[in-house]
């Protein structure tokens, strides 16, 4: 793999950039791989990357029914934070954040991780209590977060309307290390690094069946033929249920759309990420100048990547109320992704009823921020066949036992 650097760019400039090589190949599938990862989104690519990098397993194919990074990891609002309440969540999201902090150099691909700071507004006494609880919990989880006053909120977010009028801002939970990254770059950076380790990324290859023998996985049938594998890692977000059905079991998962939208590009007005969970809207501004906006999910099960208009309106009302200048800006583009929502709104990184088949799914609306941590934990599970401490709490068995990981408890929003 040819290294990227400013010097390489300058050299290439002299010949109209004609010398750059492919970031990843377009191979045909081999007969067999040690591990097949289904799903070349961020989580799948990260799983493959850490399988190779940490566990030395490089005979790996990552197969993807569309184009790599075309699912939720290329359709989200790119928020990264680790200020979670429950120990299990905090651990894996913090692992992800730490990996994000070094990811550009690790992958030799600038993912533009931007630790610009993240606020979660408290607009009711209940939220104040929830966020203060989170700050105390985070301190014991070795994650630095703080409760900040409404005056400090105004300093960080000059365009905010602190005084409601319906839900005055009472303060905020602040994580200075939180921020954003360029979502496509995360996918592409992992893909390039996987390819460089000799892994095959096979796009436009849809899994049509999962082959098992005596309860153990043997391989997959795909639109590019049958491929054998020793282990199968299914990392397909919204389509997890479809793959589980192929393997003969059901998941505690429902698929439904989440929408996001951007404004036209304007000169910077907000340098931090702000989530307002009571009225349910979040906002940041990209380095291109677009305000990146999002809100709640659409509940009806849906595989179309198109949600309902009223969800946008509901969130936009909240945005206009919270940031009045937005009223005169315009929506440029809207889109949606398919969320996989679990019974407790927390993810699943788990063994399955089929031996040597593993699932990483259920990230719902919180997937992007988790990518490196999820990949790390999933790689460990796949490599060893047993979950490590990061993945252990996220097993499928928790639903039977009643051992939930519910993040919505403190402030009413899961991710």
């Amino acid at each position: 793999m040819r290294r990227y650097s400013i010097f390489a760019v300058a050299r290439e400039a002299l010949r109209y950039h004609s010398g750059w090589e492919r970031a990843w190949r377009a191979p045909e599938p081999k007969k067999r791989y040690d591990v097949i990862v289904v799903g070349a989104g961020g989580h799948g690519l990260a799983t493959a990357y850490y399988l190779g990098k940490v566990h030395g397993i490089k005979n790996v194919a990552i197969i993807e029914k569309g184009w790599l990074g075309g699912g939720n990891s290329g359709r989200n609002t790119t928020i990264i934070r680790s200020n979670y309440l429950q120990d299990a969540s905090a651990a894996i999201f913090e692992k992800a954040l730490q990996l994000y902090e070094g990811l550009s150099r690790d992958l030799n691909y600038n993912v533009m991780f931007s630790p610009r700071g993240l606020l979660m507004l408290a607009q009711s006494e209940h939220e104040v209590r929830g966020y203060k609880r989170t700050v105390y919990a985070n301190a014991l989880q070795d994650i630095k977060t703080e409760w900040i006053s409404r005056e400090r909120v105004k300093e960080l977010v000059p365009i905010i309307n602190l005084d409601g009028p319906r839900y005055p801002v009472l303060g905020a939970l602040y994580q200075e290390r939180g921020g954003t990254a360029r979502h496509d770059a995360v996918n592409w950076g992992y893909a390039r690094a996987c390819d460089a380790m000799g892994m095959d990324i096979i796009q436009q290859c849809e899994v049509t069946g999962i082959r098992t023998e005596n309860g153990e996985v043997r391989g997959v049938d795909t639109t590019k033929g049958a491929i054998d594998c020793g282990k199968l890692a299914v990392v397909v977000a919204g389509h997890s249920g479809v793959l589980a059905n192929m393997a003969g079991f059901r998941l505690p998962v429902e698929s439904c759309p989440l929408q996001a939208w951007v404004s036209e590009p304007i000169k910077p007005v907000i340098d931090v990420v702000v989530m307002a969970n009571l009225v349910h809207c979040y906002i940041s501004q990209s380095d291109k100048g677009e305000l990146v906006l999002g809100g709640g999910i659409d509940h009806p099960n849906n595989y179309t990547q198109r949600g309902s208009w009223y969800t946008l309106e509901e969130t936009t009302r909240a945005l206009v109320e919270t940031y009045p200048i937005i009223s005169r800006l315009k929506m440029l583009r809207q889109w949606g992704g398919i969320m996989d929502i679990t019974g407790d709104h927390s993810p699943i990184i788990s063994k399955t009823p089929v031996r040597n088949m593993f699932m990483d799914c259920g990230w719902g609306t919180g997937g992007f921020k988790a990518i490196p941590g999820s990949g790390w934990a999933m790689a460990e599970l796949v490599a060893r066949g047993e979950p490590g401490p990061l993945a252990a709490p996220f097993g499928l068995d928790r639903f039977r036992e009643g051992r939930f990981i519910d993040e919505s408890v403190a402030a009413g929003v899961a991710h």
């Binding site: 650097s5 109209y16 105390y136 014991l140 000169k267 198109r306």
Partner: protein, 984 residues
């Protein structure tokens, strides 16, 4: 140099001059002008700077597809950034300023990026700025952000108002050109309810500019007649200035009416967002001309051929005196004719085709214009305005054969149907080889709720690019000059080398060139979505209306595959940007969300209450007196309620009537307690769990009669619990004879709390409220001071307490009466915070404090409220799961700091060591914590591992700034453990 022509201009009214300013300079225009036309008429060719390289840019187009000419429109609070001048109507006093430059439009420092453009190809960010890590945050990103964005947002809140409207029709026609109007008329005649929306202020689309005849009439005449005819149909609604912005699931069209953009401040709503439910949406949205990709195709003065003739014919504006036309099709020759008709000069028509022998080229030749066949443009000279073009062989590598002097270049690369509306909900396209365009595939149209077709395209949007074809599709006759086939030209000249490709722009606003798309393909970003994202092609505020097809073609060429194999990117709403103001509609300020008011709300407001939002309610938190702090007010209210009498507006509590022969059985399923055995006349505290076992609500249940119970819920729970009950009744136990009624709002409810409560009620008089007549946990109906009331002897404070329900329309009067009569007993109102502290002093749990959705009643020591006799209740099975019956669950205790201070709310008690993930082990947390003015110290409740078995133990709570607070586990009831006061 552009200028206003002395005659012509079908859309302008020269009798109505208007004045406006651009970058502070005064300018003149006419009613009917677009801002674009008016700017050109004033000789303003340079209108903005591109995003990345800050290249000087002028108008390319005359409509919604314009990528370059975006301005900051308006002043102060009415500033609107990124406003497209081609879609802005001129009005008197308009002020516009160009964007994305410093210090000025003419001299822009940022243009240095252009000089070093070779260093910044597509994706260069991804390859650089990685070292050192910290530099991205502190050095690189701040610099990049400074360059971000185009326009500047207003600093003040928006003074305008917005609204929304619903409409229903059988057929929604998007576009008021010939195809749209013809479709509308046909549907109208068939008796359908039709709405026609035209995004511009003018009907007719392109036809009046492009010529020909329809049904023997000139297009403009046919359009007027058709509009007159349509106006006679009561089933037709015609709307201009309204764009079908997006088609959504089940035929829900979002449409954007710009009601008062051209009359700012006249008091009308600025925008109205229409939500149209249409059986079928007809996309009569026309087509957009494609630019040609040649070096220097972005120099101001290079425009689309159709735009050049639009400016001349519609607004009598000459984009230049000496025009060179460059084309791969016959249609552009119409521009030559328009230029000639206006008395201007066509220097030459540069036609990339080997032969230009059709009728139109012949007409042009006949007027003495040189037609150069098989030629292309090798380069454009001029920096802020075109001065010359260099002509070359289209087949070659760009060797210049001739240089032509000109001040305007009119280019045409063919046309692309506007398929957005058809595509938004999944309509598929097919590649039309002859037209070199994607057009809607009617066999794969989007479908609606009943599986029938939701959208179809007509006219140019359906790939019928000529008037005769459009008319034929609509069953009309038309005549127009025939057109010879175009020759697809994706790069000009065909053999252009890297240097030329590096200057041939595809996406103007985002500065994406042919070379960028080729680089993406070379690096493996071969999916069209990868290319788009890697290069930002099509992601600017024009959303690729001009660039998409050209980009696709170049990508396909680079990959050596046919265009349909590459496919298109997804078309996403809206068609052009719509204001967030319109999306928010009327919902701002007081109307942001419903605010629920109790009958006593006016009184609370008049007393200057401090409030908190509780759901949509606004409840009194406390009633500060004068300069009193909230804290002091709360303490005063508590002390007063504990010593005299306090009054609480409890109207927000849910009140659900449950009646029927099976009501008892039903409530036994709803509550963990046994409710069927509650005697008539009695009250019982009850717990509700969800099917997952977790405690979800609590409240007092009242047995009203043999077959009727009244269930009180929490304030936030009324609607939720009522819905929950109806869910189970309708969907699981539908054969049970039970009716429910949510009577929450029928009654105002007032808690009269404190040792003097009885005295106060006795003073009002009317019913016996003695301990004997109305003991604790009973209720009675009667009158008080003449009010018809129901009185419950229940207590959430631990004091002698009556909750009085009165018809809501009398609530304010009873509240007033209680306050007045209570003066002699020291009666004071108290708010929610006093309520919370008093319940905490009693050790009562609060839903939302002690519970958070993960807590089961057993955790809270509420086993006494869980019936052991019942075979089933909602949540019972869930509570039998292994993790629920674990002895290691955290359970409720009281907590008292050793020094009497108040424990911080939400703080955790630590245990020894760390867990496997290196996190500190914990063994409990505080769920409620208050200063108790009654006990004069901090009191708290919390959930602690094995808590109730560890009375007296001391726990460590690390709090702020490294302090560790020590607190002792105690009984959660801090006040009147025996309950004598409530029972008094």
């Amino acid at each position: 140099m552009s200028t206003r022509l002395s005659k012509g201009g079908r859309l302008i009214d020269r009798s109505k001059p208007l004045s406006f300013r651009f970058n502070g300079a005064p300018m003149r225009g006419f009613a009917g002008d677009s801002l674009a036309a008016a700017l050109l008429a004033n000789g303003q060719v340079l209108l903005g700077r591109s995003f990345k390289y800050h290249r000087p840019r002028g108008l390319i187009a005359s409509g919604a597809e314009e990528p370059n000419a975006l301005v900051n429109l308006g002043r102060n609070a009415r500033v609107e950034p990124d406003q497209r001048v081609t879609t802005t109507e001129l009005f008197d006093g308009l002020e516009a300023a160009s964007q994305n430059h410093w210090p000025s439009l003419d001299f822009d420092i940022g243009a240095i990026n252009n000089t070093f453009g070779k260093l910044f190809p597509a994706g260069f960010y991804y390859k650089t700025f990685m070292f050192p890590q910290i530099a991205w945050k502190y050095l690189f990103e701040p610099v990049i952000r400074r360059a971000a964005g185009l326009g500047t947002a207003a600093k003040e809140a928006d003074p305008d108002r917005y609204e929304q409207a619903y409409a229903y029709c059988d057929v929604l026609v998007a576009g008021g050109g010939v195809a749209g109007l013809a479709a509308a008329l046909a549907e109208a005649k068939a008796g359908k309810r039709v709405i026609v929306m035209e995004q511009t202020p003018f009907w007719g689309g392109r036809a009046p500019v492009d010529g020909g005849t329809i049904e023997g009439l000139a297009p403009a005449e046919w359009i007027d007649r058709t509009l007159d005819l349509l106006a006679t149909y009561p089933n037709v609604q015609l709307m201009t200035r309204t764009m079908v912005a997006g088609l959504h699931n089940h035929g829900y069209a979002i449409c954007y009416e710009r009601v008062a953009d051209h009359t700012p401040g006249d008091g009308r709503p600025r925008h109205r967002l229409w939500r149209v439910r249409a059986g079928v949406t007809v996309a009569a949205t026309g087509a957009i001309e494609r630019p040609l990709a040649f070096a220097g195709n972005d120099v101001p003065g290079v425009m689309l051929a159709s735009a050049v003739r639009d400016y001349i014919v519609n607004w009598a504006v000459s984009p230049g005196d000496r025009v060179v036309i460059v084309t791969n099709n016959d249609d552009a020759y119409r521009t030559a004719l328009a230029v000639l008709d206006a008395g201007l000069t066509v220097e030459a028509v540069v036609d990339a085709r080997e032969r230009a022998g059709g009728d139109l080229p012949q007409l042009v030749r006949a007027r003495g214009v040189r037609v150069m066949e098989g030629r292309g443009i090798a380069g454009v000279m001029g920096h802020k305005a075109v001065t010359h073009v260099q002509v070359c062989s289209q087949a070659g590598e760009g060797g210049v054969t001739e240089t032509l002097e000109c001040d305007c270049v009119a280019m045409s690369g063919g046309w692309s149907p506007v398929v957005h509306i058809f595509s938004h909900v999944g309509g598929k396209l097919l590649w039309d080889e002859a037209g070199a365009m994607f057009r809607p595939d009617a066999t794969r149209a989007p479908t609606g709720p009943d599986g029938s077709v939701l959208a179809r395209a007509v006219g140019a949007a359906n790939g019928h690019l000529t008037l005769d074809a459009i008319a034929a599709e609509a069953g009309l006759s038309a005549e127009v000059e025939p057109e010879a086939p175009l020759a697809p030209v994706w790069v000009m000249p065909a053999g252009a080398g890297q240097a030329l490709r590096f200057k041939a722009f595809l996406d103007y606003q985002n500065d994406v060139k042919v070379s960028d798309v080729e680089l993406a393909a070379r690096e493996g970003y071969t999916s069209v979505e990868h290319t788009k994202r890697y290069t930002t092609l099509g992601m600017a505020s024009d959303q690729g209306k001009l660039s998409n097809i050209n980009g696709l073609a170049i990508l396909s060429d680079s990959l050596g595959q046919p265009i349909p194999t590459t496919g298109t990117t997804t078309f996403r709403p809206p068609y052009t940007p719509i204001s967030f103001g319109a999306m928010a509609g009327e919902a701002r300020g007081d109307l942001f969300q419903p605010m629920r008011r109790t009958a006593m709300q006016d009184w609370h407001e008049a007393k200057g209450y401090h409030w908190e939002p509780v759901g949509f309610w606004r409840r009194p938190y406390c009633y500060p007196r004068g300069a009193e702090s909230h804290r002091d007010a709360v303490n005063r209210e508590i002390t007063n309620a504990r010593t005299n009498v306090g009054l609480l507006d409890a109207s927000t509590l849910g009140k659900i009537l449950v009646k029927g022969p099976d009501a008892g059985k039903f409530l036994d399923m709803m509550y963990t307690n046994m409710m069927s055995t509650l005697p008539v006349g009695k009250c019982r505290y009850g717990l509700m769990c969800n099917e997952n076992g977790f405690l979800s609500d609590d409240g007092v249940v009242v047995r009203l009669s043999d077959d009727s119970w009244l269930c009180h819920t929490t304030s936030g729970g009324a609607d939720r619990i009522h819905a929950h009950m109806e869910d189970w009744l309708q969907c699981e136990w539908w054969d049970w004879k039970v009716y429910t009624a949510n009577l929450t709002e029928q009654y105002a409810q007032i808690a009269v709390v404190g040792p003097k409560a009885r005295k106060l009620l006795e003073k009002l008089g009317g019913m016996d409220v003695s301990k004997e007549a109305l003991p604790f946990m009973t209720w009675a109906e009667g009158t008080l001071a003449g009010f018809p009331v129901r009185v419950y002897r229940i207590s959430f404070s631990g004091e002698l307490s009556y909750e009085i329900a009165v018809p809501a329309n009398m609530g304010a009067a009873l509240w007033e009466a209680l306050n007045t009569a209570g003066e002699e007993f020291g009666a004071m109102p108290y708010g929610t915070e006093a309520l919370h502290v008093m319940r905490a002093e009693k050790g009562f749990i609060m839903i939302g404090d002690e519970t958070d959705g993960t807590v089961i009643p057993q955790d809270l020591g509420l086993n006494w409220a869980i019936s052991k006799k019942k075979a089933d209740y909602l949540g019972k099975r869930a509570q039998e799961r292994s993790f629920m019956v674990s002895p290691d669950r955290w359970r409720l205790v009281g907590l008292e700091t050793l020094d009497g201070s108040v424990l911080p709310d939400g703080v955790y008690a630590v245990a020894e060591g760390n867990n496997a993930n290196g996190q500190r082990n914990t063994q409990g947390r505080v769920t409620s914590s208050y200063y108790s003015p009654t006990l004069k110290k901090g009191i708290a409740m919390g959930l602690v591992l094995h808590g109730p078995e560890r009375m007296g133990e001391i726990l460590d709570f690390p709090a702020d700034k490294g302090a560790v607070i020590k607190a002792r586990i105690v009984d959660p009831c801090f006040y009147d453990k025996e309950g004598e006061k409530a029972d008094a």
